[in-house]
Symmetry: C2
């Protein structure tokens, strides 16, 4: 199997050669953030939204990186080109770096560790977008700063795992009686031709695909409500779907074994898939 | 400066040579746990309690490692010896390993990444145990599974950082009106010759030093109450202290700028310091 070319700290190398110190704060404290941009037709989707969110994560973590948006764009494009990605994603992670030892508080001057790699879209992901997926619910046990795109992801991993054991392809997390979001996606229900999704706060990630989609909804004939809703309301919805950088708009056909509507991909979901892909394709850079 | 000898995946090497793949799940998902054992007189403190907690963390994370307690004891002792640690700590981290790519759910068969290193006790830590430290409070924003000794530590890091900016040497976290614990330590108050500390649950780490100390308290003339208590009650306490594997019993002399008692290290705290160190020295292996 041909190795991917990956980026690390200013250069490109084979994936098997890309390594970080055991003292990297990303490894010792999950002191790191990341971004994932979708790739379509060999171009980057929603790039400026990802850069806005990256800046926000960095500010909230009190981190600085020696890259501007153009620098990151160049790295992401190089990764796509070197690995001939037509459809898939580019992942980039930014850790606070290493001060050569383990102390909770970082020493004043650290040089961030930055690495990136690509993935090709899998057949399974493509199929999910056509047929939809069943999901299962789980309490949201993550930290209180889900707005930061941190690598401290075990709350999501354990929840997704729990769902998978029941046959779910994503998890639907809930807290204090209300749905928060998916394990790695934003979540939406559709009732009476209106899309309902949780408003952004520190309780959920500020999804880039979510942002793009809601702009499209506002310019469509479909209604939009940003409000809290329960798991029970979700199970009584006409349709449901999730969104993510590499997921696009993916239909949800059942929650906790309860079929939504007639169990087929709904009309509003299909329309959103179409609208999003059309826009994303046109605006990919 | 002489490099430390560290342990990684079956061997020992210079610290600058110890590296992990960028695809290690410890780095991408904080999918890793750790243990820290104190070293005194060149011997390991509370070793069996640390191994019990390690087994518990592994089980809760659905992780397996190809080491038994004797194997880990041998590694920890070798690290202490190779680095001539008289007083300090041995840190060991266990990640789920890498499956060569990034997927939320691990592939079936992963080989864990295991590494360990030592630290010598600093003069600052020694001084803190004598004079006590001021601490500042912060909301507890960590995930709901604080009983797992996970490397997803940014909730603690950000809180400790916030405290440090105010002059605090540790943070006192609180949630729903009640104190949880320190950023990397267990927390106790003393009122009318009785030690009060939060009972263990998923809300706090099950401290090994805490466990050892509470056994000593139960065999002493000092009272013990395991119950919830508020930040306000803490500030009105006669004394307060924190415990941790490398902290031992460290006096707290002020909370949020409010001096406790007469601002000196209290009699009960001093007695606990004495009792703990005497026991730990005797039972270190």
């Amino acid at each position: 199997m041909v190795e991917r070319m990956v980026y690390i700290n200013g250069g490109y190398c084979f994936e098997s050669e890309a390594k970080v110190s055991i003292f990297d704060r990303g490894l010792l404290f999950a002191d790191a953030i990341y971004e994932v941009a979708g790739v379509i037709d060999g171009k980057l989707m929603d790039f400026s939204a990802h850069m806005q969110r990256l800046d926000r994560s960095l500010a909230e973590m009190h981190m600085e990186i020696p890259y501007d948006h153009d620098g990151i764009l160049e790295i992401m494009r190089s990764l796509v080109e070197k690995n001939q990605v037509e459809e898939g994603l580019v992942y980039m992670q930014f850790t606070r770096g290493s001060d050569g030892d383990r102390e909770f508080l970082p020493s004043a001057k650290l040089s961030p560790t930055v690495f990136g790699f690509t993935q090709h879209k899998t057949e399974q992901e493509k199929k999910a977008n056509i047929t939809g997926i069943p999901i299962f619910s789980s309490p949201d046990i993550r930290w209180a700063r889900r707005d930061i795109k941190s690598v401290g992801l075990m709350g999501s991993v354990l929840a997704k795992w729990q769902s998978k054991l029941q046959g779910g392809e994503e998890v639907l997390m809930h807290q204090d009686g209300f749905v928060t979001e998916g394990g790695a996606t934003s979540f939406y229900i559709v009732k009476n031709h209106t899309i309902i999704t949780r408003p952004i706060s520190n309780d959920i990630l500020h999804g880039c695909t979510r942002k793009a989609l809601l702009e499209l909804v506002q310019n469509s004939h479909v209604g939009l409500e940003e409000r809290l809703f329960t798991l029970n309301e979700s199970m009584q919805a006409d349709e449901a779907f999730i969104t993510g950088a590499s997921t696009y708009v993916c239909p949800v056909t059942a929650i906790d074994g309860v079929q939504l509507g007639d169990g087929q991909v709904g009309a509003v979901t299909k329309e959103m898939q179409h609208l999003y892909l059309e826009m994303a394709r046109k605006e990919a850079i």
